[in-house]
């Protein structure tokens, strides 16, 4: 770890003078590549160079993998050489040019048509999936891709209110998702209440917990806020694990009522959906029904957020992100403003959690680990804080990417039958995140659309917009 940290810390320092001196010469590039290769050798020697295996006597023996190590170090070195010779001069030339404050015109044109097109696409997506993949094959596409991605789009949009608009870094967002899920599961199982009644209840309970979290963290900013929200997420998870009498602990809650179509269940019985409408039974109907529920919920989230941004409360959130002291000097109650942001964000997580419980039919604390919070937060950060479209794109890429990696069986022919692409998911994510942070440090869509305008709507460049310190 120390080596890694060092190399991360050293690299920028090595780069900067190198770029300034413009190492166009082959000698400088070779030297640069040699240093990088040596660094890679030091890093990968223990990681790749050695391997422990059990032999036939069940003893652990150490094996060396010199060819593989050499190949990796060679790849790193030659990659660096190619970068220094080909890419660095070009990057240097570009760095000299002034950065355009506003995005180019084609982006505005794409932006105008993108949203209606995207909404149209997601509305007809199940029909497309059925017509292309057939009734049997489309379940996977609608369930694993459509529903799964839309859940994270909704969670991303919800967290976007807290992180992107109000500028409050929340690392425990999954707690509210869990509150929503357990609220539905417990209330539906205990009292037999319907999904549509419990949906607002779950939202209200989650936003109640959002306010409860909000109070102690009102005075905290930045790192401290992040740590406390992280701890809050863990507290909720640990309570769910340990309060066995209520939550059944690790075993989770099974048999959660599934949603019904105006009281008609989606099962193979005589009074089931298929039988009532005279259709042959298939699980597809339920999946499509769930798809449209989560689509409606996600669109509701987007609609409400867009509306809120144009209302005083939304402007106050953004003003809070920009400068809290100025807000207070203008008579804005920053306590209430922060709490409404937490409550709003938590409410949408509660809705999503409620939906998650009814879709899965089974929930356990394993679904609400810190990993989930981190995934949702990285969706928001990668997409561009405050940007709805950016967050949606990031969710499609991150969650869609995860699902696709489960379906890359052909790679087994290349890398051998033991190769499991899903295990490399985090590696790919990490790499993608580094690329995004280098290429667009403020996320995919980092510019800000003003909430109101007098003559023309001018997009505000990312360099002006603050990230918020809290």
């Amino acid at each position: 770890m120390a080596i890694l940290a060092n190399s991360l810390a050293e690299n920028p320092r090595n780069d900067k003078p190198a770029i300034k001196r413009r190492p166009t010469g082959l000698g400088a590039a070779l030297q640069d590549a040699a240093i990088t290769a040596m660094l890679a050798f030091g890093l990968f020697l223990p990681l790749i160079g050695f391997e422990t295996v059990t032999d036939i006597h069940n003893d652990l023996i150490l094996r060396t993998r010199w060819p593989l190590l050499l190949a990796v170090v060679g790849a790193v070195g030659s990659g660096r050489l190619a970068y220094a010779l080909l890419l660095a001069p070009r990057l240097h030339a570009r760095a000299g040019r002034p950065i355009a404050a506003a995005p180019p015109a084609w982006q505005a044109a794409v932006g105008r048509w993108f949203v209606p097109f995207a909404i149209g696409f997601v509305v007809i997506y199940p029909a497309l999936a059925v017509s292309i993949a057939g009734k049997g094959g489309s379940v996977k596409w609608i369930d694993n891709f459509g529903i799964q991605i839309l859940i994270y789009v909704m969670l991303g949009w919800g967290l976007n209110i807290v992180v992107g608009l109000a500028g409050l870094l929340d690392l425990g967002y999954v707690a509210f998702y869990a509150v929503g899920a357990y609220a539905y599961a417990l209330l539906a199982k205990t009292f037999g209440l319907a999904f549509w009644i419990l949906l607002p209840v779950a939202g209200i309970l989650a936003s109640f917990w959002g306010i409860l979290l909000g109070f102690p963290v009102l005075r905290l900013r930045g790192d401290y806020l992040a740590i406390v929200t992280l701890a809050f997420g863990e507290i909720i998870r640990l309570v769910l694990i340990n309060w066995v009498a209520l939550t059944n602990g690790y075993a989770g809650i099974t048999g959660i009522p599934r949603p019904t179509f105006f009281g008609i269940p989606f099962n193979a019985d005589d009074d089931g959906f298929a039988a009532v409408f005279g259709l042959p039974f298939t699980p597809l109907y339920r999946v499509i029904f769930l798809y449209y529920i989560i689509l409606a919920l996600a669109l509701l989230t987007a609609f409400v957020t867009v509306r809120l941004r144009r209302l005083p409360v939304g402007r106050a959130w953004e003003a809070l992100r920009e400068d809290e002291i100025a807000c207070r000097s203008l008579g804005i109650n920053t306590t209430n403003t922060k709490l409404t942001a937490f409550a709003m964000g938590a409410m949408f997580a509660g809705f999503a959690g409620c939906f998650f419980a009814t879709r899965q039919g089974f929930i356990s604390p394993e679904s609400f680990t810190f990993m989930e919070s981190a995934t949702i937060l990285s969706i928001v950060v990668l997409g561009g804080m405050g940007s709805q479209i950016g967050v949606a794109i990031a969710a499609v890429v991150m969650i869609g990417g995860t699902e696709i990696s489960r379906n890359l069986d052909f790679l087994k022919h290349v890398f051998g039958p033991t190769f499991d692409p899903t295990q490399y998911r985090m590696l790919v994510f990490g790499f993608a995140m580094v690329v995004i942070m280098v290429w667009r440090p403020r996320g995919l869509i980092s510019s800000r659309e003003p909430s109101v305008f007098l003559k023309e709507r001018k997009t505000i460049g990312a360099d002006m917009v603050k990230e918020g310190r809290g």
């Binding site: 920009e322 400068d323 800000r448 007098l454």
Partner: protein, 307 residues
Amino acid sequence: MSEQQTTAAADALLRVEHLTMRFGGLLAVDDLCFDVAAGSITALIGPNGAGKTTVFNCITGFYKPSRGRLALRHGDAAVWNTLEALTDSGARSAASHGGALYLLERMPDYLVAQQARVARTFQNIRLFPGMTVLENLLVAQHNPLMLASGYTLLGVLGFPSYRQAEREAIDRARNWLDRIGLLSRADDAAGDLPYGAQRRLEIARAMCTDPVLLCLDEPAAGLNPRESAELNELLLTIRNEFGISLLLIEHDMSVVMEISDEIAVLDYGVKIATGKPAAVRNDPKVIAAYLGVAEEQVEAAEAEAGL
């Protein structure tokens, strides 16, 4: 509070009485008393570190004073008679005689702005740089707009009453932008504006909160002579046209001497002089505090500065 003082300061809008602010061992402001007369421009001057901004932070609720009373009136001057009763009652404010009294030291910062209607600007400009100029002015009208949007509920549902209120808020903002000459830049990011324009915008934003008292912390800092003259005009307009009292901290003597009616001089947290500009300018204590040199040199420096 003696009876005599009460009558002497009947036209006061803000009374600062025995204001003391202590930070640990440091006595930043010591037993400071002064009044801001209604409809006046009062300047608070003094060398660096004299405690001027601390006084501002106490008045606007950002600091809670260690000791002292900060009383502000709305409406009729007769409400001053209820000051002692209000102080003893332990409440923050009281309304009577077609007016109201506020004890600012008892109020949190946002209520000082929202209820007592004291607006302020900052020494280091504090705009919302990532929001447009127009949005900055709408954030300043947060409280009336919040009410009009039914605390967000009616607004989300799209009730027309909110849209009407927003149109009025935009009109008010447009009016102020016209006054400060920034109408053509209404849709630009506030952080994109040049320095002088940011200073004017901050004043306009404070004015959009509909204050009775406007506190300006070094409004002329970093302005060139022409901008400084424009600022004078703007401040006089605010006072004459809107009847708003101004309290300003300033180092630029061309601003202070030209427009202020009353000056209070602070040195090491203690008030060393108070009075009309002409009197303060010739006060030997003030000259010593500022320059700490012999008389001839002061005159030479003054002549150079055109005073």
